[in-house]
């Protein structure tokens, strides 16, 4: 899951321009937009920040060519990186919806599709290819055992084979 401490941090937004419409609880930032909250970071050309009447952020919609998202996950300590033409981030449910050349990289395991829904809490992903014969591509990085352990493993197998052969000869 996403770092819990991220959620307690203030959200900072830097951009070239802002249009805020209080009646709609909507702030539209444009021009090199960068949003950060702890380890979470969104970079895009245009970002809509939808809030509630109390001014709390409910939804963030980032549009870019592509828009980028990254955040540190609790267990793996590595960054999850994602990009797409449109990234919608639902703050309350910690859900990410990537649409348009969507791509997610998590510890080297990558997923690309037309649309990816990514639950940052359960770390579950659901991907969908383009209509028609659109494909989903997933690349799973083989688990690499730590160096020492690998050598011993092979040695143990060799010894096992040797004892089997000896027993057969008797």
């Amino acid at each position: 899951a996403a770092l819990p401490s991220d959620r307690e941090q203030p959200v900072k937004v830097n951009a070239q321009k802002l249009e805020a419409n209080r009646g709609k609880n909507l702030s539209v930032y444009s021009g090199n937009v960068v949003i950060t909250q702890g380890s979470l970071q969104i970079r895009a050309d245009r970002v809509e920040v939808h809030g509630n009447p109390e001014g709390e952020i409910r939804r963030v919609i980032a549009i870019g060519n592509p828009a980028h998202f990254q955040q540190q996950m609790q267990q793996s300590q590595n960054l999850v990186k994602a990009r797409a033409k449109r990234i919608e981030f639902k703050v309350n449910s910690d859900e990410l919806q990537l649409t348009g050349e969507a791509y997610v990289d998590r510890d080297g395991n990558t997923l690309s599709a037309e649309k990816i829904d990514y639950d940052l809490n359960s770390e579950k992903m659901q991907a969908q290819g383009q209509a028609g014969d659109g494909r989903v591509e997933m690349i799973w990085k083989p688990e690499r055992k730590p160096q020492g352990q690998q050598a011993q493993g092979e040695q143990a197998r060799d010894e096992q084979e040797a004892t089997d052969e000896a027993r057969e000869e008797q």
Binding site: V11, V49, G55
Partner: protein, 188 residues
């Protein structure tokens, strides 16, 4: 029907004259006063001023309290220099915006007001309304519009946005910050 016509024409003429006299469109305000003309003695000086300004319907439009108001009349145009003005702009019959600043200038019956020096604007009723701080701002009360090219900070509850250049369309509840935008949203 014939007898009504002259009466109708007379009434129409009178209304046009009254309208022109009260808030003539800028183009009809006549020539702008030259710097030399502006430099002459004021027509009126009010110290520790408490003034009330009403709109055409007779409703209170805004109140200006100031340490001093120095008033100049140039034909149809006028200018009021304000020292330490406190202005309260009304929306309907409710006070909506309160401004404080070091100085200000009101032009042509308050059609345009420029505030300068530690400008602080509060939305009423507080708390909960937005607050705006800048070094200078131009307000057009009748169009419910304000703009500045200076650095401006807007606070809305715990959230804060800072940038350079602002256009505020108050009747549409819409604000544009034109460059170098930095916003902070606190998580409650």
């Amino acid at each position: 029907m014939r007898t009504w016509l002259p009466l109708f024409v007379i009434v129409a003429l009178i209304s046009a004259v009254v309208w022109f006299a009260d808030s003539p469109p800028p183009e009809l305000l006549g020539k702008r006063p030259t710097p030399k003309a502006q430099d002459r003695a004021p027509d009126l000086v009010i110290r520790d001023a408490r003034t009330r300004h009403f709109n055409l319907e007779g409703n209170l439009a805004y109140r200006v309290d100031a340490e001093q108001i120095t008033f100049y009349q140039f034909g149809r145009r006028d200018r009021a220099n304000l020292t330490e003005p406190r202005i309260l702009f009304y929306q309907g019959d409710q006070p909506k915006w309160r401004t404080e600043s070091r100085s200000g200038v009101a032009h042509n019956n308050g059609q345009r007001v420029v505030l300068r020096g530690d400008v602080h604007i509060n939305e009423l009723p507080g708390p909960g309304g937005i607050e705006l701080d800048t070094e200078e701002i131009t307000i057009k009360p009748r169009q419910e519009y304000a703009e500045t090219d200076k650095v401006v900070t807007i606070s809305a509850g715990p959230n804060r946005t800072r940038g350079t250049g602002l256009r505020a369309f108050l009747n549409q509840d819409r604000v544009e910050i034109l460059s170098e935008v930095e916003s902070t949203y606190e998580t409650q």
